[in-house]
């Protein structure tokens, strides 16, 4: 194994994704532009134009076709990638099911953007979370480094269990913000991520194969069970790949939930994506001020890290769940998932849901502090209301 000397580059989250695609030796990219995803595919196109990457680029006529073409490419044995956001992801919805059902390890970057109307190009997690039940795994990146690392790990995980993965970064906060990213030399990526070995191959004619045919009630159920099982098994694969990544490149992803100050915390902030960068910053400050707080950053939303959440729940009095999303008629989606996961456990920390930053509204260290105050009050005097639309203009 060659020695790892990282290549440091100042890049946007989108360029981090594009570099990862190049380093992963993706063979087919089919994509359609949408703000704020566009610069990912532009950068990839540039790599191809300059002869830096050997990729078949299919400039499709819609996101629905972007996913359909990725599905065709993946079914024909290629390593396939696409990227989108918001309305584009919604248009793909039908095909997301097709990709997972046909067990194709496609990797896609979704740049979290709010759904219209009203039009908004800014950050919001509802687009990706609305795809929760499509059978895709979901990895939420906190920063540009995690976008890069996430895409590389995603291919390895997806191709091990034959389930597609969405790597999610937030609009503008990551997609268009430049930061230092440590990239991995190509030979070392190649060692980490060998060429794909497809589950089946449409270009293999040794026997006729039929994929995605009609299944009667006698068989359909088992197909679904196998996908469910693959997702469950993916938890171990995710941890192993995350650990291997840490051993090779120094950044450990063996936990599906990244934890900080959990051991002696009264309560923790829980959330996903870039907003957790703000939370981590705030928690460091609050700790210095004597608040006994911690954080739990959910990296993988699918499969859901229930076991890791249980461990956290056993050691804290409260969990403040921050959702940059909302399921109408109910509550924040992460809150809903977390609460549901703990129902049968004896650990019953008080849980409160804070809806924050929808449509790109700023979420600051001051906001975290205010929420910390509120949580302290909740832990001392009981839960007043479960869901709070924090910083709503009244």
């Amino acid at each position: 194994m060659a020695e790892y000397k990282p290549i440091r580059k100042v890049v946007s989250g989108n360029y981090a994704a594009a570099y990862a695609v190049k380093h992963a030796r993706v063979q087919v990219v089919a994509a359609y532009p949408i703000t704020p995803q566009t610069s990912i595919i532009e950068k990839i196109a540039e790599f191809i134009a300059n002869g830096e990457a050997d990729i078949q680029y299919v400039p499709v006529e819609s996101e629905h076709s972007a996913m359909a073409a990725s599905i065709g490419a993946s079914a024909a044995g290629a390593r396939a990638f696409t990227a989108t956001a918001a309305q584009g992801l919604a248009l793909m919805h039908e095909m997301l099911h097709w990709a997972s059902g046909a067990r194709l390890p496609i990797v896609m970057v979704d740049v979290n953007r709010a759904m219209a109307p009203p039009w908004s190009v800014w950050d919001d997690q509802t687009d990706s979370l609305a795809q929760r039940d499509t059978g895709w795994m979901q990895f939420y990146a906190e920063n540009n480094q995690e976008v890069y690392d996430g895409v590389l790990m995603a291919f390895k995980v997806a191709e091990t269990v034959n389930v597609p993965i969405m790597v999610i970064e937030s609009a503008f906060i990551l997609s268009h913000t430049y930061d230092v990213v440590e990239m991995i030399p190509q030979e070392l990526v190649d060692e980490f991520l060998p060429p794909r070995k497809p589950l089946y191959d449409l270009a293999d004619f040794s026997q006729a194969i039929s994929v995605g045919a009609l299944a009667t009630p006698d068989d359909y159920y088992e197909f679904r069970y196998k996908l469910a099982k693959a997702m469950e098994e993916a938890k171990k694969v995710i941890k192993d790949v995350g650990k291997e990544f840490g051993e090779r490149f120094g950044r450990d992803y063996s936990d599906m939930i990244e934890k900080g100050y959990i051991d002696d915390a009264d309560f923790v902030f829980m959330g996903m994506g870039s907003l957790m960068g703000t939370v981590k910053e705030a928690v460091d400050l609050l700790r210095k001020e004597g608040y006994k707080v911690g954080y739990a950053k959910v990296r993988w939303f699918r499969p859901f890290p229930k076991e890791e959440l249980l461990e956290i729940a056993e050691s804290v009095k409260g969990i403040a769940v921050l959702d940059r999303n909302f399921s109408f008629g109910q509550e924040g989606i992460l809150f809903n998932e977390a609460k549901g996961s703990l129902y049968n456990s004896s650990a019953r920390p008080v849980m409160k849901n804070y809806i924050v930053g929808l449509g790109g509204r700023d979420f600051t260290v001051q906001d975290v502090r205010a929420i910390a105050e509120d949580m302290k009050r909740v832990i001392e005097s009981g839960l007043d209301r479960e869901v709070e639309w924090y910083h709503l203009k009244r």
Binding site: D54, V60, S62, A68, A69, A76, A80, L202, S210, G212
Partner: protein, 311 residues
């Protein structure tokens, strides 16, 4: 079944079968015949993409495959995109496509999956120039969901959502000319074909194999179930559709039109001869028949002119 040498010698279409018995098409189904001919022309080194349509069922439920070729079933509107992706993957992997010994990537979609919901993906596929073949098998309605109109349903036809009744509510639009839309993309090769003329169809399939870039064939494929026609009349109907010039056979190749009728000089037979064998046209009034007849002749004249000027 073993084919005797004496018969083999007289056959102009390949003797080998790659479409298995036991498929689940209705009796007299034109689509199933079409599939059989495509397989005869291309053999098993073919990747089929079939969207939601009757052929999903014809090809067999899991774990069966009545096609002796690789098959990917896909969503209704995605044929054009999926064959694009497959072709791109083969190229990325350095696998030869088309030519004598390369892999044939074939999209096989119904008229609905082509003329309506799949038109966008078809257009994208044609425009980008992928090395694959798209076949629209045209049975002129959505048969898989129980005979509803499609953009390819002809004037005056009964379907379950254009029924004939007291207020005489039938399909009032003429058949969408999908092949003209395809040609407008300036594709290298586009053709019509019919299950009544298998030699012509197979010749066109073989040509498509040699063409560089995307090709398109619109195959006329009668459906006794949806057309309310006797199951033993499918070939006769398909032949009459050509003889009446209702569905003329022609090719478009690099800007040139060629009519491939058995006798292109002959006056077309009256459209009634074609209509009267089918229950779906029984609600048409005399005026309706005249309207359809005029349309057919008008389109036929147009095609003849095109062949004359751009032949």
């Amino acid at each position: 079944m073993e084919i005797p040498e004496s018969i083999k010698k007289r056959l102009t279409i390949p003797a080998e079968e790659h479409f298995f018995a036991g498929h689940t098409a209705c009796q007299g189904c034109g689509a199933s015949l079409g599939l059989r001919y495509v397989l005869k022309a291309y053999g098993r080194k073919t990747i089929f993409v079939i969207p939601a349509c009757c052929s999903t069922i014809i090809a067999g439920a899991w774990p069966y495959n009545t096609l002796d070729a690789n098959l990917f079933h896909t969503a209704f509107e995605t044929t054009g995109a999926v064959i694009s992706g497959i072709e791109a993957a083969l190229k990325a992997r350095g696998i030869k496509v088309k030519g004598e010994d390369g892999v044939m990537v074939v999209g096989w979609a119904g008229d609905g999956g082509t003329a309506d919901i799949g038109l966008q993906a078809l257009s994208g596929f044609l425009e980008r120039g992928h090395d694959a073949l798209y076949i629209m098998y045209d049975n002129e309605a959505y048969m898989n969901t129980g005979i509803q109109r499609s953009g390819s349903t002809p004037y005056g036809a009964w379907t379950t959502n254009t029924p004939g009744g007291k207020r005489h509510f039938l399909e009032k639009r003429h058949k969408k000319k999908v092949i003209d839309i395809v040609i407008a993309h300036e594709v290298p090769y586009a053709a019509t074909a019919s299950v009544a003329f298998p030699e012509d169809f197979i010749r066109k399939l073989k040509k498509a194999r040699k063409i560089e870039g995307p090709s398109f064939i619109q195959l006329f494929a009668p459906c006794p179930t949806g057309w309310r026609s006797p199951t033993d009349k499918s070939i006769e109907l398909a032949r009459l559709a050509v003889q009446t010039a209702y569905f003329p056979l022609f090719e478009y190749e690099n800007g040139k039109y060629r009519i491939n009728m058995p006798s292109p000089k002959k006056e077309p037979k009256p459209i009634e001869e074609y209509l009267k064998l089918q229950g779906r046209f029984k609600y048409m009034t005399k005026e309706d028949v005249e309207i359809l007849q005029q349309w057919v002749l008008h389109e036929w004249e147009k095609l003849k002119k095109l062949a004359e000027v751009f032949g």
